[in-house]
Symmetry: none
Subunit: 204 residues, 4 copies
């Protein structure tokens, strides 16, 4: 009544996000959302078509950010052997990820763990797939640029490395790492990964 409409809309979204976070998409009850929002169940349907739309709306900003991050990552800046000798490049990519994680903590949790039953239930796989394709493409271009390096790496290996990104995000979120812990981890991971890739690609 006295609550302005947009307020209600926001309130539904916030409570829904809490519920989704706690019980997952499928086991979140519209009834409960309505109850906690202090409105009628059916009134929710004046703001959203259905449960899935609420879920999608919650994840909308995150999805945008992810898409942006992915396309940024896919630029041609990285096509240099320096990527594997100086920390700068990988660091820059990882920092993007950290930003994502820190800005969209809850939403990432939803997307990665709680989306079963929603229209985003396969999003995690899709991203990994796209990451893999980008990775393969990257290796191909590098080989063209630096014929001496070895890129004889199985598609699946690239795939596993790609999925690592999401797994790491997932773990960071699950364990509620603070900024310092994240930074420490990233430097370790870069050191570890750089050495690994150099070995595989027979650089130097």
């Amino acid at each position: 009544m006295q609550t302005k409409k947009e307020n209600i809309r926001q309130q539904i979204l916030e409570i829904a996000r809490d519920e989704f976070t706690m019980h997952g998409f499928k086991d979140t009850s519209m009834r409960v959302i309505a109850l906690k929002a202090g409105i009628t169940l059916s009134n929710i349907y004046n703001y959203f078509r259905n449960k899935d739309e609420i879920f999608r709306e919650i994840l909308y900003p995150l999805i945008g950010a992810i898409e942006k991050t992915l396309s940024d990552h896919n630029s041609n800046d990285n096509l240099t052997l320096d990527y594997f000798s100086t920390d700068d490049y990988q660091s820059r990519d990882l920092k993007r990820m950290v930003t994502l994680v820190e800005n969209y903590k809850t939403e990432l949790k939803l997307l990665l763990f709680k989306s079963s039953g929603s229209s985003y239930e396969n999003y995690r796989e899709e991203i990994t797939l796209r990451n893999t394709e980008m990775g393969l493409e990257y290796l191909k271009k590098m080989k063209e640029k630096y014929p001496s390096i070895s890129v004889d790496v199985s598609t699946f290996f690239v795939h596993v490395m790609s999925s690592m990104w999401l797994n790491i995000m997932a773990e960071i979120i699950s364990h509620s790492l603070n900024h310092e812990q994240i930074t420490k981890f990233i430097s370790e991971y870069i050191e570890f990964g750089t050495a690994g890739w150099q070995k595989l690609m027979k650089i130097i």
Copy 2:
């Protein structure tokens, strides 16, 4: 009537496994299992006490195999720097994992992805936790044996590496890799990981 009893029991298990695989434990309906098995819903309860018991029975062999693998892995054979210079040790561990994956493809999928709501819903986390603890313990012992190496690695990094095992299994299963592909991947992963760890531990 005409179907022999053990047949039906097996049929229930197989159909249940399919359903669990497709929809997850929680969203699998006993009604549907009965329907697809061509028997009465209530008749299922002559073979199993409840839904969870069916799930547990399906996973029973896998759980045993996992426990065995873990205890084998936890031996002291690995306490040598050779672990990081020759492929033999890691290879042996990874081959154990491969055996697991190839023998219990479907069941692993269930355990890793589809167990929410069942009594095994936290098993994945538990294993990662145990793996992490084993990893930290391992680093400590190595440091005692080889004081020159560095083990200044964050717990979280060890945790991520531990969870890698399960993630890799998960990916192998999801992508239905054949034996050759798995072998190829493993050699790559060993090469990659060995280089990474050597770098981190500052082994020459």
Copy 3:
């Protein structure tokens, strides 16, 4: 649709009361209530949280009346030997009971006979217990006031006399006594009981 909402609520209550009366709380089916009310089973749950709530709502007025009657009865007016020589006092108490019975015929039947399985299933015992305690307390006070009387009566005897109240109510209800019959019975019961108590307490 065409039926107004409060109608339906009342209808559910009435039909539920009939069903409870016929089959008892436990053996009354929500399905059947819905069927007889001409509504959907699930729609009942728009009016009541669960079966027990329906039962409690039906008994709500009766419970209030009983509590009031009990507290009225527990006054100190009765602390006189006249209680056993003139009819007035007992008559007044019994008339209270009659009023209760005549006003809450059906509900009393539910409470006394049909509440097994509901949250009121022990109410009968509780009342008898409270009545017994009140009776014992009464005898003690009387002895203090009139030391010559005998109150050497077993607790169990007081208990049986207390449970009589409820049994009498129960019988009146079961046999659908009219007002005249009730009045007749009461005068008989007072005559009978007064003589009995006088004898036991050795009054004159």
Copy 4:
């Protein structure tokens, strides 16, 4: 197998009696009886036609004893005013009841409290009815023999007095009175009741 058949039959009866006592007729599960008896569910049906037959068989001796007690009570010995001046007669009747209670404690509990849903669920009422009829008949005969006494007592009053018997039994059982307590109560009840009836019948 090694258990003789009659043993099994007895075992079923004993376990069933326990279950009926604990959960009542309706809420006792044949499955549980079979389980506790260590036999198959369906095997019970080789010994008894159905659940009700088990219940009836358990109560068979009690029913016989009740019928005998009732017919004994209905003899002509009691047709004397002495019944209300000496304790002997009533005492004899009450002692019969005590014997019943002490010999068939469990069975009476079943019959009075736990028979809902069985073919004996109305037995309590039936007995009270027969008791009432016997009481009315008794009063009539007394009036013929002793025209001076008053028998102007309502049918319902006789009914309540009749139901008292069963209520008292019920209370004795519920409270697990020992022999001494029962005897004490009975003498109190006789004193109370005799005085009451004398008053009502205007004897002396």
